[in-house]
């Protein structure tokens, strides 16, 4: 055991802190290799741009999820919050270009507020985040269905740019997701508040003893998750042209997969958002590959589940050694 720790100490910081990334990078490499054999179009720049674009929604929501998991919690209200925000976006804008900016700001604020409420409930009620956010998810889904029972409103054509637009040849939404990811990665690595997220997730008791302010950290983490959900909601509204009350249902659990694939421990304290971004990219790439191979959509789920099982088994092994 000490030997393993000794080795870890000798590793340069950039390798040590990114050890979790190795798995996802290897898996991406494997998928690329198989893809190369399946079709010569798979490794083309255009296909990669496509996959990049298809990563947007999953990447956005799971970046926020990474933060809550790093802090030792989880956010199960993301799916309902995405549904709510996407419905509100199209419902309130309702094809009126003048309303785009205020509604976008309001929706982002609402998402953050819901995150704050989650954090507040966790602190005040002393209930595990799993239960708090599960309950919040049910409440938000109810509210969403009260607001709309079917697709609601429309977004103006200009708003579609968020989902389909290209900036210097790069898909706009995906680029925003990457920039957001880099920003959060910077905060996590270099700012005290970011380091405190890891401290809290690694050992809540020690964090309390050294005087870290749990409330503030949780506010940041769940607020961020809420913000990311709102961003996902905006993106989905732009992509589909209208919000639907069940549009986010699958994201609740799907958002956890990239986090785990990216090497973040579900028990908290270890990992990072860059891994999550690569994890989301891996899933999109895998689905893309299965499309190339003409595998039915149904088996894509099977493949995804098998990858999760494979990944978690491998990662646990590594932690056992360390």
């Amino acid at each position: 055991m000490t030997g393993a720790i000794g080795i870890r100490m000798e590793m340069p910081w950039w390798l040590r802190s990114h050890a979790g990334l190795a798995g996802v990078i290897v898996l991406i490499g494997v998928v690329c290799l198989v893809g190369m054999m399946v079709s010569d179009r798979f490794l083309s720049f255009n296909n990669f741009l496509n996959v990049f674009e298809q990563t947007t929604d999953l990447a956005l929501v799971s970046i926020g999820q990474t933060l809550t998991i790093l802090s030792g919690g989880i956010d199960l209200s993301v799916g309902s919050l995405i549904s709510l925000t996407s419905c509100l976006t199209s419902g309130l804008i309702n094809n009126n270009p003048d309303r785009v900016i205020p509604v976008v700001l309001a929706v982002l604020a609402l998402g953050t507020l819901v995150g704050f409420i989650n954090a507040g409930l966790v602190v005040v009620l002393r209930v595990h985040p799993l239960i708090v956010t599960l309950g919040m998810g049910a409440i938000l889904q109810g509210v969403t269905l009260l607001y709309a029972l079917g697709p609601v409103g429309r977004v103006p054509r200009s708003f579609n740019f968020l989902a389909y637009g290209r900036l210097y040849g790069l898909p706009l939404g995906a680029t925003i997701a990457v920039l957001l990811c880099l920003l959060i990665a910077f905060v996590l690595r270099y700012l005290p508040l970011g380091r405190q997220v890891y401290a809290l997730g690694d050992d809540a008791n020690s964090a309390r003893l050294v005087g870290l302010r749990r409330t503030r950290i949780l506010m940041l983490v769940y607020g961020c998750s809420g913000f990311c959900c709102a961003a996902t909601g905006l993106y989905l509204a732009a992509r589909f042209g209208a919000g639907q009350p069940y549009t986010g249902v699958n994201y609740t659990l799907a958002s956890i997969t990239p986090v785990v694939l990216g090497g973040t421990l579900l028990s908290g304290g270890k990992g990072g958002v860059i891994g999550t971004l690569l994890g989301a990219f891996l899933i999109a790439l895998l689905n893309n590959l299965l499309n190339f191979m003409d595998v039915s959509k149904h088996y894509q789920l099977v493949a995804q589940a098998l990858i999760i099982i494979l990944a978690v088994s491998v990662y646990v092994d590594r932690r056992g050694m360390a």
Binding site: L125, H128, V260, Y299, Q304, I308
Partner: protein
């Protein structure tokens, strides 16, 4: 940790009456809410206490109660089973996979339970041998089952539920649903297993304190795996009953039951931290959910409000429980 390890042993021990009353309240307090809820239902709407409505309530109660019992087993060993909903749907799809005649019922049960045992073993294996968090392991099997189900049905299940299963899921005997009778037998048997057998005692020890369990020489891994298998099998059984109740099958029969069963257990004072819980509690929790849903319906409030109330109830119940635990813990 002043958390009590055993529950049935503690009950059997002669203690001061006041302490034993408090212990009973601590564990079964939620059961007392039921008469209040039913009384409130009667006040809100007389239709609620009509024999017809109560018998329908029982009909809807059985599937959720069966899943909740399985969920309780898993939660007591510090686990969580998210795959129950997917397991139910899979069992339902299996139910219509054959010709739809009564002679298939035995085969349907055999296949459904075979799949359930496999799923339970996989869950248990991942959790114990690979130390995957229960949340993630059962999430993966949930997606796995979903994928296989969709691949098998090509997205649109077809076929009929055998008439015998229909009777089983929706039939009534003098106003008492058959499935409620089945539930009663099942609950009594499983309560004896959990609260009065050596195996049940081991479940509580493993969930309450894994280190103690190891020192006692209990093979914790086997106990945990057994709990996941029990949960999967009960979910499969509930899926078959539910397919009989609904009469037709789609890929999403049982959706929401993973959440509802967890809520039922939390409301029924099954501890999320493991080591505590009872069959009676799980049943009471499931009853609370079904009754609240029914009352909201009778009140004429929009059906969406159900979800809002359900969400609020789960958080409040957990908060109530957390308070008590920290208060008694020191």
């Amino acid at each position: 940790m002043s958390e009590p390890l055993t529950t049935s042993a503690e009950l059997a021990r002669p203690v001061a009456p006041s302490a034993s009353v408090r212990a009973l309240l601590d564990r079964f307090g939620m059961v007392l809410i039921l008469p209040i809820l039913i009384g409130a239902g009667g006040v809100i709407s007389p239709a609620f206490v009509s024999a017809d409505n109560l018998s329908n309530l029982l009909l809807q109660f059985a599937p959720l109660a069966i899943v909740a019992i399985g969920q309780a087993f898993v939660m007591i060993v510090r686990g969580l089973d998210l795959s129950v909903g997917s397991m139910m749907a899979t069992a339902a799809v299996i139910a219509t996979g054959l010709s739809g005649a009564d002679r298939d019922v035995a085969a349907i049960f055999a296949v459904a339970f075979l799949v359930a045992v496999a799923v339970g073993l996989l869950n248990g294996f991942l959790v114990t041998k690979r130390q995957v968090s229960p949340f993630l392991a059962t999430l993966a099997t949930m997606i796995l089952l979903q994928g296989f189900r969709f691949a098998y049905t090509q997205g649109a299940p077809s076929g009929n539920v055998p008439p015998l299963l229909r009777v089983f899921g929706a039939g009534k005997f003098h106003g008492i649903p058959y499935n409620a009778l089945v539930l009663l037998v099942l609950a009594i048997v499983l309560a004896i297993v959990l609260h009065r057998s050596v195996f049940g005692r081991r479940i509580f020890i493993v969930g309450g304190n894994p280190v103690t369990a190891r020192l006692f020489g209990i093979r914790s891994d086997l106990v945990v795996i057994a709990c996941y298998v029990i949960s999967s099998c009960l979910a499969a059984f509930a899926g078959l009953i539910l397919s009989g109740y609904v009469g037709l099958v789609d890929n999403w029969v049982g959706q929401g039951y993973e959440l509802d069963s967890i809520v039922a257990c939390v409301v029924g004072q099954v501890s999320l931290q493991g080591g505590r819980g009872s069959i009676l509690g799980a049943l009471a929790g499931a009853a609370v959910i079904v009754i609240i849903a029914n009352e909201v319906l009778l009140l004429g409030v929009p059906i969406q409000v159900q979800m809002i109330i359900k969400g609020a109830v789960i958080v409040l119940a957990a908060a109530l429980y957390a308070r008590r635990e920290t208060a008694s813990g020191g």
